[in-house]
Symmetry: C2
Subunit: 105 residues, 2 copies
């Protein structure tokens, strides 16, 4: 259970950036969304991850109230989008290296 798990941790960050770059997202929603894709993680992992991403300047957050619920919504910063591009590039590269060819063109 070595490689896959680590890949999931990375995938989670990518997903967060991916969604946060398209629309504001909040923790609980991300949690569901990730679960929907088969990535389950506890709040004790998700929230520190969001904080870290914000601390690193990849996300910005803001408290909003939706339907009487106070949420912290996150959106990607330019640096966050750059990191996303970088991540995508890395995924593509990795795919090209370890996936059996079935090329483009």
């Amino acid at each position: 259970m070595a490689g896959v798990h680590e890949l999931q941790r990375a995938a989670i960050v990518l997903h967060v950036l991916h969604h946060a770059s398209e629309e504001p997202v909040h923790g609980a929603w991300m949690s569901e969304e990730l679960a929907r894709h088969g990535y389950s993680l506890s709040p004790g992992t998700l929230y520190p991850t969001l904080h870290r991403l914000e601390r690193d300047g990849l996300l910005v957050s803001e408290q909003v109230v939706v339907e009487g619920r106070s949420r912290r919504v996150y959106r990607a910063t330019p640096a966050g989008e750059a990191a996303l591009q970088e991540g995508r590039r890395a995924v593509r590269e990795l795919a090209g290296e370890v996936l059996p060819k079935d090329g483009r063109s």
Copy 2:
């Protein structure tokens, strides 16, 4: 420096399994091979990683002597190959999720 770095850690494990499933490999060679692909990691990370993979039953090692040099060569076990397949599947899935479409889905 959040997402890309974690992806690299995962990529390294995949590369190790990938190569170890094709031919016996040893630490120093993997180090070079990974560097060639742009993944640089220190011995302090690589060797514990190999040990962990072996402890988890994904690799088996054996001491051999090559040109008067004693090396520990690793090969993938069936479980290791299974983990590799699993990892490939995860990469494919991840690619399909965060990469801009241009294939099927």
